[in-house]
Symmetry: C2
Subunit: 218 residues, 2 copies
């Protein structure tokens, strides 16, 4: 099972985590096998859409027997890369940073959180998710020693661009960005996942005022 790079559309990539989540929930509830029809109903997709998506990765399942959920979940996990153990640091230990550090189950999703940093002396030294918050001044030494590759930005919009630039110089190649700033780091090999909660809230506003339910993207 392998990814044919450049042949997989962004829409399919965006759907993979959703497949992974639904299959994980099915596994947890003790279901071992599922037809594309039933999976489609649960996920509010069509059966042919599901077959098409999974075919991008070489296909799973046997005609008439449905999918082996355990196998499918494992394979999609491998495609996503959850077995990679990417080392992540979190910048900004405010409420959002603390919530992210505490609740995200990084290990299940391909990451280990190894450091939390803040420039506010009052936050430095606190325990969050089993880690002691460090001062941002110590970032450089930490990166030189531990070589994290992923940074989670829970900092104000005004600081995001500059902090991101410094982090790239320290070896960061991927960002999970909550800063309400459209982060684009113009370096080759740097990837960014922006989370625009404000856009999500506006989408809810549209849905509520038009009474239209739009499908999830995230």
């Amino acid at each position: 099972m392998s990814v044919k790079k450049n042949t997989v559309s962004f829409s399919v990539i965006r759907r993979l985590p959703r497949y992974y989540r639904f299959l994980g929930d099915l596994l947890a509830s003790g279901v071992g096998r599922i037809s594309s029809k039933e999976l489609a109903e649960r996920m509010h997709l069509t059966a042919s859409q599901i077959r098409q998506d999974l075919n991008c990765f070489g296909g799973f399942g046997q005609q008439g027997y449905g999918y082996n959920i355990h196998q499918l979940h494992r394979e999609i996990g491998k495609i996503i890369g959850v077995d990679h153990d990417l080392q992540a640091i979190l910048i900004g230990a405010g409420n959002l940073g603390q919530a992210i550090a505490t609740h995200m189950h990084f290990e299940k999703r391909g990451f280990t959180l190894t450091g939390i940093f803040d420039c506010d002396a009052q936050k430095v030294g606190r325990q969050v998710a089993g880690l002691q918050v460090q001062h941002s001044d110590d970032l450089s030494a930490f990166c030189a020693q531990r070589h994290p590759t992923i940074a989670i930005l829970c900092i104000p919009k005004t600081a995001a661009a500059q902090v991101a630039e410094s982090l790239v110089e320290l070896g960061i190649t991927g960002f999970w960005n909550f800063s309400h700033y459209d982060l684009r780091v113009d370096h080759k090999n740097v990837v960014v996942e922006n989370v625009h909660l404000g856009d999500s809230l506006l989408t809810l506003c549209y849905q509520a005022t038009h009474n239209i339910h739009t499908p999830d993207f995230l």
Copy 2:
């Protein structure tokens, strides 16, 4: 300027908040007019895509003169419904709930946050975003008196379905759901915006392990 219901695709609806955000940033930086070409470059879309999107709502701008940003921003805001002042309550005053309450600028996005509730006696009485956290037992009386229509769920997955059902009975017709649970409320006229941060993290994992940058959805 009006929305032709049923003729606007979900993808266009999902892009509206992004237009609104970019145009707001342009306004804030003092830009008054922009061509579809320049807006396209900033937003990493094509000019024809932008013209097509805005045509769904009756079209804006004049050939050769570009868009009047102030007007376009205001009109898209109206389409989204930011002038509706929807009354929202937040359920769950943990770190995530506090972060959402404190940082989301609800008023700018069509909402007023009027109540925060938690079932943890230790959180009740605390001040968050200018509101005093109330006990969940007081939800029913609050809703009967104030009639909020939107609920923001920052509660554990296990509680989400049941809490949502009770809230619908109390008159809630829209949910912003952070509970890691695929909330579907099977009532007519109830809309749900799920925020699956776990899926976003998995998308980052895919991007980082394949070194592919996927466009933002949220």
